[in-house]
Subunit: 348 residues, 3 copies
Amino acid sequence: MSTTAVPTSSLLHQWSLSHAAWDGLLRAAERLRGPAGTEPLLTGKRVAMLLLNPSLRTRLSMEAACQDLGAHLLSAEPGSSWNFEWRSDVRMDGAAAEHLEEALGVLTGMSDAVALRAFAGLHDAAEDAADPVLELAARACPRPLLNLESAMDHPHQALADALVLRDHFGGSPALHESAPRRRVVLSWAPHVKPLPMAVPQAALGAFLREGHDVVLAHPPGFELDARVLTRVEALGAERGGTLETTHDRDAALDGAHVVYAKSWGARAHYGDVDAGATAVRAQPSWRVSEADLARGDDAVFMHCLPVRRGVVVDADVLRGRRSLVQQQAAARLPVQKATLCHALGVDP
Amino acid sequence: MSTTAVPTSSLLHQWSLSHAAWDGLLRAAERLRGPAGTEPLLTGKRVAMLLLNPSLRTRLSMEAACQDLGAHLLSAEPGSSWNFEWRSDVRMDGAAAEHLEEALGVLTGMSDAVALRAFAGLHDAAEDAADPVLELAARACPRPLLNLESAMDHPHQALADALVLRDHFGGSPALHESAPRRRVVLSWAPHVKPLPMAVPQAALGAFLREGHDVVLAHPPGFELDARVLTRVEALGAERGGTLETTHDRDAALDGAHVVYAKSWGARAHYGDVDAGATAVRAQPSWRVSEADLARGDDAVFMHCLPVRRGVVVDADVLRGRRSLVQQQAAARLPVQKATLCHALGVDP
Amino acid sequence: MSTTAVPTSSLLHQWSLSHAAWDGLLRAAERLRGPAGTEPLLTGKRVAMLLLNPSLRTRLSMEAACQDLGAHLLSAEPGSSWNFEWRSDVRMDGAAAEHLEEALGVLTGMSDAVALRAFAGLHDAAEDAADPVLELAARACPRPLLNLESAMDHPHQALADALVLRDHFGGSPALHESAPRRRVVLSWAPHVKPLPMAVPQAALGAFLREGHDVVLAHPPGFELDARVLTRVEALGAERGGTLETTHDRDAALDGAHVVYAKSWGARAHYGDVDAGATAVRAQPSWRVSEADLARGDDAVFMHCLPVRRGVVVDADVLRGRRSLVQQQAAARLPVQKATLCHALGVDP
């Protein structure tokens, strides 16, 4: 609705960002932690946020980012309206009262940018792999679209995690030859129910793009999406990052500088919640303990939150001085400001 | 709470508006689509919105209208508090934890105007015909009250639909002798459950007040409220509008300039959800198709949304270039600004 | 985040306030009813509100207070995210997806003050008596924390009730020897289910601290928390207040200047909802009627709302000219402004 110096842009997947765009967003986020972060950069702009799934950090960081930058936010959340259909060519005689295309048209008509959360359906692996709700939204929405976690990716979490890694290690080996590559371990974790793969895939993308030596450790049967892995590994290789996958958890943790825990469901039980729950409950030894951290090299613990204490990780690890989980949550705010400026064509 | 140039005023029913007030609101809405729509006309004002039923367009257009005009909004929605009782002289030993009179007193005490959504209960036709929750609210509320859809009426939708008709036809035959009267067909549509009659009654009122030749087409047994029909027909006659009711859908669609689809429940099954659902499912041939539109005279399609694709209307009609549904949704924003200014005594 | 003239401060329990702080908050609330109440005193401040239970007055008065004083509000409510665990050392394999400590860390990281509503669990009387969720939050939260009703106390309601008493009686006997002590009766009331004890305990504290002759009337078996009673009675004694407890409702009402009705559950059935409901339903004669008020000395009726008509109190009492319930609700707004200024170190 207003003239801007920079072209507006959607943020659908982290792997669609050029290296320059990735680094630019992180630099902007760093700047927006300072006084620039409470300048009225987005006055007169309105953002419509549609959350099809529950949220705490995402919703609050979006609200706070808009407040700080002077933008108006319209928020539609679970429970405030009704269920939305997203499939094409379906006769809508079920629970959904409105098609997402119509709803997005309405949001678009009242805003300068749209932000969408649409988790994986967890019914059909091939369907989820196509990130269908996000793709539909991208087609239906003529405004810049921000992905606040889709079936396959969570780019805001990826950027926040990268920012925390840069803070912790004093820089990124992808940018500075003087910065050493670190052993960053993404360790599958137990849970009480099967969860989507968006966050682990986003985290892997961030670690690789930041140029680290990344180890993906999970029990057999918990493979992530092969196409996503290929893509983020290739992008990472351009920045010096390496990816190793293993089922040997102890070996993975040896010498780790970062232990990033996250649970997700087994591919064999995709669409079967009960069998999926049994599978993720069946590996309690993958819960992260202080002893696990001690195998590392001055290792820190990371998790995107929310996290179940005593299931994913021991409470003392989570609350201990080696835990970066609150830093990760706090980084969501400047990252959200950066992607809003990016979406709305404002150079912060 | 502040001095204003224009008297403040409630908007309970569209049929209670004088023609001058109706035209004045539409002129204000047109003005508020321009730069006036983002002037701080309502700075220092607070609006309390109580939504007893789900909402998307209504809630977002109210939020956006307040943001744009500088008003503060307090919003109480389904799920954020508890159930409210509205009947007088009832012993409250059921699900309702608070009487609407007390709640409205609280909202009133913190605001300059109140906006209420209270759908038809669909238990008792005679009870709904009295619009009892809205009437109670009007008695209980010493501030201007805006009706965001009650049992019998949806005046904001009526105004938005009138605005879209004026846009589409380049004016209103009620105001300009040079503007020809058009054939505007309100066509009942199938659904999966019986719905209230507020929107079709509001739409009829808008078409008639705008001076068109209106055709109401529905299967036998789907009569609207007789008292409302009498009232809006009489108002329409003063503006050159005519009303014809028919069960012959094909004849209705022949030569139509507008096909406005909407479902509502059968009178015979009022209060019986299962029988009502069977009745509205039993007429699938009333679903609007491209072939139906082709019977018209360059006909456009209208619907208030949300709409079920493949049940009420075919997806290709809805998404086609003859569909005005997004224009209708977009018109809710300037209309909401106009009724807020009206309620708060501000001349936009 | 900004420099302030007054030290910031939490408000956990009314009985932890010094008399000077209590009177200071009430004086501030009185001032904030005037033009000072819409000054931008809190510009640049952000408040995070976490409501673990439903709310109407509390949520709206917090929103309105922040709007009026220029603060930003982040609000997390039931249904917008997930269930939170608060117990330490529990394996989180149940319904709760996040521990309150993590959630409060996130809220704290994005705000200058936190406000929490966490009702009594009503499972275990000893557990509730320790106000465990509020105590956990106070330990976990490095920012000022406002109690928006905990298991044992509702300090904002206490302050609002005190403000209304001062209005009604033209001052407080605790402050002015010329103001006579009044007979203020807290009368237990029937209900349809057992309710927590926070409000009656808060009200008693307010009446006593204001220096009145307080009568607590309830059927046998409905004792409040002994430790709280001892504490508020001692504080009240320092201000001239007296406390008498009785099971004789008629004697209590004789000569009353104020009849404050409130229901709560029986101790013997704590944790047993069905037996608790039977117990609170079994005393219908405790419902407040006009005849009850007539036993008093020009008695007024008070209740914190929400209230069930015909169960707790007759509708004519509630809506009558002797009812102060709307004044109580309205007083929540200036009180909320006062406690926000108190929490954020701003002298209004």
